[in-house]
């Protein structure tokens, strides 16, 4: 191993690899330090499946144009205005070119997957999913001569006056426990897998959270940077959370633990009480509020309850529904109070008004006289077997990050840009996403800012 690299990339996901490839193509020598073992390389990119990029015309895999302006409006809507407009518009503009650039790096697209038709115009899907995308990027990086080390945990960063000098390693790599480099790209993700850190904001409830992605996103690099004077951005208490199956593993259950059945039934807490309007809006627009809703319930658990008439209305699930021939039998299996659940469902059924069911639009099937109401898709739950999925909050990613410029250069707490430190991906996503989310945006942030960070880091190193 040479004593000093031009560019050191910490992290191993989409943003890190885009940075490494761009830096290498810019003529720099590049080392990638991935903290995870090889199989788990790539952080949450392993679990992704698409990227949202602006485009002016339909392509082979996208059904129609998605202009910069429309992308911007979507971003404005989901974040409620909590975004950096200049940075966001820059990202959206750059995303157009990423559609082709990423293909040049070996990634292949495919039309939207079964069950995701609503994304067919806006989002490009990776053929084979996120791990296939990663594999392609790693092959390209290695072919270009980027050095990659796995199980390479960084324990400290040496930073002086906003200048990165070296990274210290837990395990020596070819005899060295300190890696020096002219530029640093930090692309090491958020802190969603660090339960202790989550507890600072969520208290003991965080013990009942499930982490949908990699167990390696513990936020150690983020914390080092913030502790050493990099300006923070984003609400530390914010995270993207959806309701996932309570039977999922603590970490890394991925997309297959999700549930899309909320709009087809009701959701009750451990006291068998409903707590939110299950029919508030079209599911793809609302799925991401349910993690937070369940997190606010006692013991952070809830149950989606429906009947046998709707089982084929949503995607097949990894874990089968829990079934009972009567409400009481189902309640027994869920360890809920049978009388309470019977009462909730009886009252709900009595409140359902007649209507014409259509889950693709905001239909006229509503309840009357109960709180909370179900304002669309309300139908009686009356055909046994009665079925249920237990759900818990599933944390996808966090919003706290390092503030950056349009060049992906980190800003220090005093407002000055760092001389040689750049950030890309989830670690700086909070610059663009103050809150909220729209499918595929995390990968856009990763690829666009990864490419920019790599290019700028190489430029700095080669000057």
């Amino acid at each position: 191993m040479s004593s000093k690299y031009d560019v050191l990339v910490i992290g191993g996901g989409n943003a890190a690899l885009c940075a490494a490839i761009a830096a290498r193509r810019g003529g720099a020598s590049v080392l990638v330090l991935e903290g995870a073992p090889k199989f788990y390389r790539g952080g949450n990119t392993r679990h992704t499946r698409n990227m949202r990029c602006a485009h002016d015309a339909a392509t082979e895999i996208l059904t129609g144009p998605y202009t910069e302006e429309e992308f911007w409006e979507d971003l404005l809507r989901v974040t409620g205005g909590q975004t950096d407009e200049e940075l966001a518009r820059h990202m959206i503009r750059e995303s157009k070119d990423i559609l082709n650039w990423i293909v040049e790096q070996g990634v292949r697209w495919q039309p939207s997957l079964g069950g995701t038709l609503s994304l067919g115009r806006t989002n490009s899907f990776f053929l084979g999913g996120g791990r296939a995308m990663l594999n392609a990027l790693y092959l390209t990086a290695e072919r270009l001569g980027v050095d990659v080390e796995y199980d390479a945990e960084v324990t400290d960063l040496v930073i002086e006056d906003g200048m990165f000098l070296a990274a210290r390693l837990k395990r020596p790599i070819k005899g060295e426990t300190e890696i020096r480099a002219t530029s640093l790209v930090a692309a090491a993700g958020g802190f969603e897998a660090n339960i202790e850190w989550l507890k600072q904001y969520w208290g003991e409830a965080a013990d009942n959270f499930l982490i949908r992605g990699t167990p390696y996103n513990r936020g150690s690099i983020l914390k080092m940077l913030l502790d050493k004077g990099v300006q923070e951005v984003g609400d530390p208490t914010q995270c993207h959370a959806v309701a996932i199956d309570a039977r999922a593993p603590k970490f890394d259950g991925g997309i297959i633990t999700r549930h899309d059945s909320v709009v087809f039934g009701i959701v009750v807490n451990k006291h068998a009480q409903r707590f939110y309007d299950e029919g508030e809006d079209i599911w793809p627009k609302r799925y991401a509020i349910w993690g937070r809703l369940v997190a606010a319930q006692p013991d952070q658990i809830a149950y989606i309850i429906f009947d046998s008439t709707v089982v084929t209305s949503f995607m097949p699930t990894l874990f089968p529904p829990i079934a009972g021939q009567t409400i009481a039998e189902l309640a027994g299996k869920l360890e809920l109070d049978p009388a309470a659940l019977e009462k909730t469902i009886t009252e709900f059924n009595a409140a359902v008004r007649p209507g014409t069911f259509d889950h693709t639009i905001l239909d006229d099937c509503v309840t009357e006289g109960i709180t909370p109401p179900k304002t669309h898709w309300a139908r009686r739950i009356e055909t046994p077997p009665y079925l249920a999925y237990p759900v818990r909050p599933g944390i996808t990613f966090t919003y706290l990050g390092t503030r950056v410029t349009k060049e992906a250069r980190m800003l220090m707490a005093d407002g000055k840009p760092s001389g040689n430190m750049f950030a890309a991906g989830e670690i700086m996503a909070g610059n663009v996403l103050g809150k909220g989310y729209a499918a595929g945006m995390g990968m856009t942030i990763g690829s666009v800012f990864g490419r920019i960070a790599g290019r700028e880091a190489a430029k700095h190193a080669r000057n």
């Binding site: 292949r108 084979g128 990894l318």
Partner: protein, 368 residues
Amino acid sequence: MHGTSILDEADRLMTVCNSCRYCEGLCAVFPAMEMRRAFSDGDLNYLANLCHSCGACYVDCQFSPPHEFNVNVPKTLAVARAESYAAYAWPQALSGAFARNGLVISIVAALSMAAFILGFAALNDRGVLFGVHIGPGAFYRLMPHNAMAALFSAAFLYAILALVMSVRAFWRDIGTPIGGRADGGSIFQAIRDAGELRYLHGGGVGCYNEDDKPTDRRKLFHHLTFYGFLLCFAATSVATLYHYLLGREAPYPWWDMPVVLGTFGGIGLIVGPIGLFVAKSRRAPELLDESRYGMDVGFIAMLFLTGLTGVLLLILRETAAMGPLLALHLGAVFALFITMPYGKFVHGIYRFAALVRYVQERRSEAGS
């Protein structure tokens, strides 16, 4: 629950995959899976035989081992596929041949070649067996044409019968209604899909073998093997027509159609199986049904022996080695014929039926 533990595992995996669907664009297996929410034994055997074992879904899967979901579709379907060969074998009494297939194929091949050598030696003078025979009818001085034709026709017809009965059972089990026919359009499309090995390509980059770098080597060697086999079959067919229609007896000159077809076919049957064997030996163990190594190698070896003895016979047919080589070649071909329904050969038949079924499903879904 299914009849076997491998089908239970295949069911578990298809449930995982059906709630993920990232691999939808890689091959035919996943779109076929998405047309179902539950999986019968027949469904799983259909999916198992639809799988070309390109390995892409393993390399691309975020849940493959060491992940606790332990998703290994290529290996699981490989085992299920091999077990399906035994399950549909006709007559069922012979399904045990699949259990220790490498041994069975070796013994049959050895006995067959020995029988021809002993037969030639017993029925011919030493001078005839080791003599130099040239000109039309040279081969038939060692074995009369009618005896050769009768023996091989019987073996071939038996193989066809057993294969038809086996694939009929498979076809019924994979969900086509009894009496349900394959239409011409679907068969034509399936011939194209099989002919170009459309699904042995990892979704476009090639298939995965020894590492995570995709290549098209297995596809190339399979093409050499398969088209080599077809050319040899064509050579035999043309020669049969020459014999009965034109009254021209083998051996034929080197430029004549049966010899040209047979030469190219024979080269394919030597180079292709060697390439497939090397690829198989290097294949990552996690992608392999290692317990079926004998079956796979047994079939590869039979094709190789057929090609090798055939080409040697062509080269040395005007020397004293012709007699023994003819015996070896006929022994190899005879063994190949009679073991066809009870060895790896059937993979092509079931996979083709599965491809026909897949085209039908796609079309009926598009039409509905």
